[in-house]
Amino acid sequence: MIELFRAELKRRWLLTRRYAGESIAGILGLAAVFYGLFLSAQYVAGPGLHFGSRLDAIVVGYVLWSLVVFILGDIAGGLQIEAQTGTLEQVFLSPFRGATIFIIRAIASLTLRLLLTIVMLLLIMALTGSRLSFSPTLLLPLLTIVLAAYGLALAFGSLALILKQVQQVQILIQFVLLFILALPTEGWSGPARWVAWMLPMSPGASELRAIMARGEGLDWGQWAIALVNGIVYFAIGLSLFNWSERQAKRTGKLSGY
């Protein structure tokens, strides 16, 4: 398994290096979009506007969103491309399970992507003047978000396995995710709080905002909820992917596009 991860990491690194223009353009594009939105908001609100910790929270939400969209696109998008180019069946000719291969792939590409995301984060902070704190504890809520994101990615991957074309749904879901990740659920109470706990990645995102934007310490109770949220979404995604693999093999649609 470790060797497969290393092989995937090497493959991703080779592709990132060989087609560096694509990766850099993606990062610069995302940073530029955020800066554009930031300038527009400043222009509309006038020169006296100070975002303060809200800006930091928005930056955290935006960067998280870009990471989640990447994870989502990596599995589902990768599956669609491989079905189109005809390498998907060779991947499924492996003694490793399909879900295992695609999770390892997603982890390998996330490892590289995290480096690029840090570059983007620093770029946005430099452009907007946002000041975020980088405590090591932020890795814990980040883990819960990544778990849930992989769950969603596997769920979309399962759709891609069966339908092969899910680009339109993927575009739509990106905006829903932006909404979920930027939603300030911290202030919610009563039944709304339960809804916040059940939304994918929302408890983790709220915890991350508390640590990075408001400089608070980790709330272990909240983190436990975020972890359960991540595990549940991951388990659902994994089950759906395994089901779709069986279904695609039953209907002979593994390679069809």
């Binding site: 290393r6 090497k10 493959r11 180019t85 069946e89 060779q90 490793f96 093999k249 002979g252």
Partner: protein, 308 residues
């Protein structure tokens, strides 16, 4: 000993609310070191059968065993399978040949060191060493196909599935692929080969299975099948026109010969009598009426489809 055993495979699909039987009752076996040519028209069920053997399509009924392992239930059975699938790229076009070989080697369960070493050996053997660092996209079609076969062999499978391996290749690349198939079979790999180029199937295969509308309609040793469909007549062609005197002599043997036409002789005893009459005229060729796989394939499929 049979390395591959597939018994009573059936597969149907629902297409536009109609149930289509792609494979109806296919049984196949291939021994170690044997090449089985699996022939059939487009849509006859070849690819579906190959994918059922490779664990990529689940059969509705029947079973597959590769060295006594079920590829649908025991993923480790896939360590024994290598495949080049028709219409697929089979390799990553943005990687180089050596990167593809290393990556797929690990994906098939090898360590990176072993995968790299085997990759280098295969690149040398397939005459691709000079192109090892060229992006696959930039390679010729023939080289890409040779690489796809090399990738399918990197984990030293016991069973190689080749779906149209010479499709779209030029003469030289086709010769290369044929040589490689022969070598791999000699090393003990069982090979299932599909091709529409029946001359290639005839040249490479030990046995032939013909599939038509999802059913196996013939399965036999290639030599036996050709013998079975070949006649016992001989054709004698001369370099010069036949003179009247010899024509009369041939007529007395019951052979009607015409100038410029081959002389058709019904059996081997008469053949030597004919050759005595023709001596010392220069001969162009003496040929036994030999069926080709193309003749056999067309005869059998037409018969099955009720054309004759």
């Amino acid at each position: 000993m049979a390395l591959l055993e597939a018994r009573n495979l059936k597969k149907s699909y629902v297409e536009k609310r109609r149930l289509i039987a792609a494979v109806q009752d296919v049984s196949l076996s291939i021994a170690i070191g044997e090449v089985l040519a699996f022939l059939g028209a487009n849509g006859a069920g070849k690819t579906t059968t190959i994918k059922m053997i490779a664990g990529l399509i689940r059969p509705d009924e029947g079973w597959v065993r590769i060295a006594d392992r079920d590829p649908h239930r025991q993923p480790q059975a896939l360590r024994l399978v290598g495949a080049v699938l028709e219409g697929n790229r089979n390799v990553y076009w943005r990687l180089t040949p050596e990167e593809n070989l290393e990556y797929f080697g690990v994906l098939r369960g090898l360590s990176p060191t072993v995968a790299r070493q085997r990759g280098r050996d295969l690149l040398e053997r397939f005459n691709l060493m000079s192109k090892r660092r060229t992006i696959v996209q930039s390679l010729s079609r023939g080289m890409q196909q040779k690489l796809a076969i090399a990738v399918a062999l990197v984990h030293q499978p016991k069973l190689l599935l080749l779906d149209e391996p010479t499709l779209g290749l030029d003469v030289e690349a086709t010769q290369d692929v044929k040589r490689l198939v022969r070598e791999v079979a000699q090393e003990g790999c069982a090979i299932l080969l599909t091709t529409h180029q029946l001359a290639i199937a005839e040249e490479l295969s030990d046995r032939v299975a013909i599939i038509n509308s999802g059913e196996i309609i013939a399965e036999a040793s290639t030599t036996e099948l050709i013998q079975q469909f070949s006649g016992s007549t001989y054709r004698v062609e001369l370099e010069v026109p036949l003179d009247v005197d010899r024509m009369h002599k041939l007529e007395r043997l019951g052979i009607s010969a015409q100038t410029g036409q081959p002389i058709v002789v019904s059996d081997v005893t008469t053949l030597y009598q004919v050759l005595d009459i023709l001596k010392p005229l220069p001969l162009l060729q003496v040929q036994k009426d030999q069926a080709t796989l193309t003749d056999i394939f067309l005869t059998m499929t037409r018969k099955q489809n009720g054309h004759d």
